[in-house]
Symmetry: C2
Subunit: 341 residues, 2 copies
């Protein structure tokens, strides 16, 4: 983080032809990106989206409104352009790649899909650790490798998305474990659980928290016990963003749980994160508070895939363009604010 670039950006904002602060958070974004990119006028013309997909052993316990084969079906739908993130990536001009970390149903090969299967699914986190330490390393490494590809392509902003039936259960368990909260404070309906399903999901998460209680003070162990392959990969990606110097726009609930794990594994990672939106999933607020950041949008979205981040992306791009392209008072010959009103 470059404090000289930050100061230069703050000074530039003060000279642009508008009352000081009148662009609100669009000014803050430009200043934050200036500090991260190390230049007075930052830019995020090119965004990179990695969608990490994986299945979850816990889905067998009936914690999702959708059947498990939907994970693989949605990977195919993303590849052929029919998913929300496909439309958004195309329309915001972002590169998108799909990373298959392991699905129960087969995924047909496609040039957009990277086959990085670790196992057909995680183990059921209610019955044991979701993954082994070796599998955790593999998943973290896939996230880091995705960030390397993004940087190599010249991306100026990184977005991680996810797909995985059952993954609000894993993300809720992980966040509850890291935050030391009971399931009741974080659990929500995910893709649309009914009341009975929600009760089952809460009890299952509390049981998993009790089973893994001794592991939860170690963030890597918590991630292995309660996470998913795609959640661990996102955590690895956020850590790599900080290590490789690429700002990350964090999507919604699942992404924020991964971001929280990343911050526990690598405390400096938070500096490189911007939060795209406030998810409708009730537990998101607690994770956002723990990350100490304010989301940009609050549109009641709860889809995942990176969709909230992609929707927020135009605001970041406009913030940078305003910062770079507006005239200063001197350039425009506009009178500045009088010292006395």
């Amino acid at each position: 983080v470059d404090l000289n670039a930050r100061e230069a950006a703050i000074s530039r904002q003060g000279n642009l032809t508008k009352p000081p602060g009148a662009l609100g958070r669009l000014e803050d974004i430009a200043i934050q990106l200036a500090a991260l990119q190390g230049r007075e006028t930052p830019g995020v013309d090119r965004a990179w989206i990695s969608v990490f997909a994986a299945d979850h052993g816990v889905a067998a316990a009936g914690v999702s409104a959708f059947p498990q084969e939907v994970t693989a079906q949605m990977i195919a739908n993303m590849a052929t352009g029919g998913a929300a993130i496909s439309v958004l990536a195309k329309r915001i001009g972002a590169e998108i790649e799909l990373i298959d970390l392991g699905t129960v149903a087969p995924v047909a090969p496609h040039p957009m899909i990277r086959d990085a299967a670790i196992a057909p699914a995680t183990a059921n986190l209610a019955e044991g650790p979701a993954m082994s330490p070796v599998q955790l390393e593999q998943a973290l490494g896939e996230g880091a490798a995705a960030v390397e590809r993004a940087r190599a392509s010249g991306a100026e902003l990184y977005i991680a998305g996810e797909m995985g039936i059952g993954n609000t259960t894993a993300a809720t368990a992980l966040a509850a474990g890291l935050l030391g909260r009971p399931a009741a404070e974080l659990v929500g309906p995910g893709t649309g659980l009914d009341h009975a399903g929600l009760t089952r999901k809460r009890a299952l998460i509390d049981a998993a928290l009790a089973r893994h209680a001794e592991q939860l003070s170690d963030p890597a162990a918590a991630l292995a016990c309660l996470g998913g392959f795609e959640i661990a990969a996102m955590a690895g990606a956020y850590i790599a963003c900080a290590q490789q110097g690429l700002p990350a726009l964090v999507d919604g609930f699942i992404s924020s749980a991964a971001a929280l794990a990343a911050c526990r594994l690598c405390p400096g990672a938070a500096d490189w994160m911007l939060l795209a939106h406030a998810s409708a999933e009730p537990g998101h607020q607690a994770i956002v508070a723990a990350l100490g950041k304010q989301p940009l949008l609050d549109l009641g979205m709860r889809l995942g895939e990176g969709s909230g981040a992609a929707a927020a992306f135009p605001l970041l791009r406009l913030a940078c363009q305003l910062h770079a392209e507006m005239a200063t008072f001197a350039e425009a010959g506009v009178a500045e604010k009088a010292r006395e009103a």
Copy 2:
């Protein structure tokens, strides 16, 4: 408003490959625009921005942090591309026109600037009506004419912006008058008034409300007594949007006061409005509540010019693109939500 198109859009949203409601307000936007545009898949590829500028007699009373010549200077800055709205219009691909309704300082002719001067400024609303009935008709007519130009150009969405030193005083007085509230409940710092200035502004607005009290039950009279040429033109534009069938994306504080006047003059006008953002100007919340609508963004912006609407515009465009381009469950071969979870 086309209820068949609305039903078709609701049905389409339910078939797209996502959990029902998972795109939150992006779904609502697509459905609302479908109803307004009368087609199942609406589109807002082309936006039109009219920036109405005018000076205010009340500025002589020291109610702004900026000197009055800034109105004319900012029109020139908008024409040459240096203002926030210039950068935003270019970057979102919107057409922009500037309408000079009367400024104290001279404005040099420019192809982007329409000379429609009514008077060098309104009269001081604290001492008498800001404008005559004839001047009000002229201003309303300029707004309607701008919407006609937008429609003729093929625009699918209309944005009104404004520039006028002193215009938060006029807008606050107008909103307070229409809502029957004292100045203290709505007044704010505008471009950056200090404490003494804010006290002066509040007292002046209360005095104006007392002076014009008998006129305030008639919205046209209230607009003439307390408004500004640009505020009246915006009200005329919003009414014309409803009459001519063009959705309007309402900007911030000044725009919302004009929108409130439009709704009082023509109650059906509200149907054609979407609110772009929650302004940092404290009185905005009361106006938003009276309009009965929820702003899309809340970024602490308080610039005007149409800047908040232009910043929100990409969300509307993405909402329409998602609605039109996502695959349905049947198209993508994705399993729908199970009936029992």
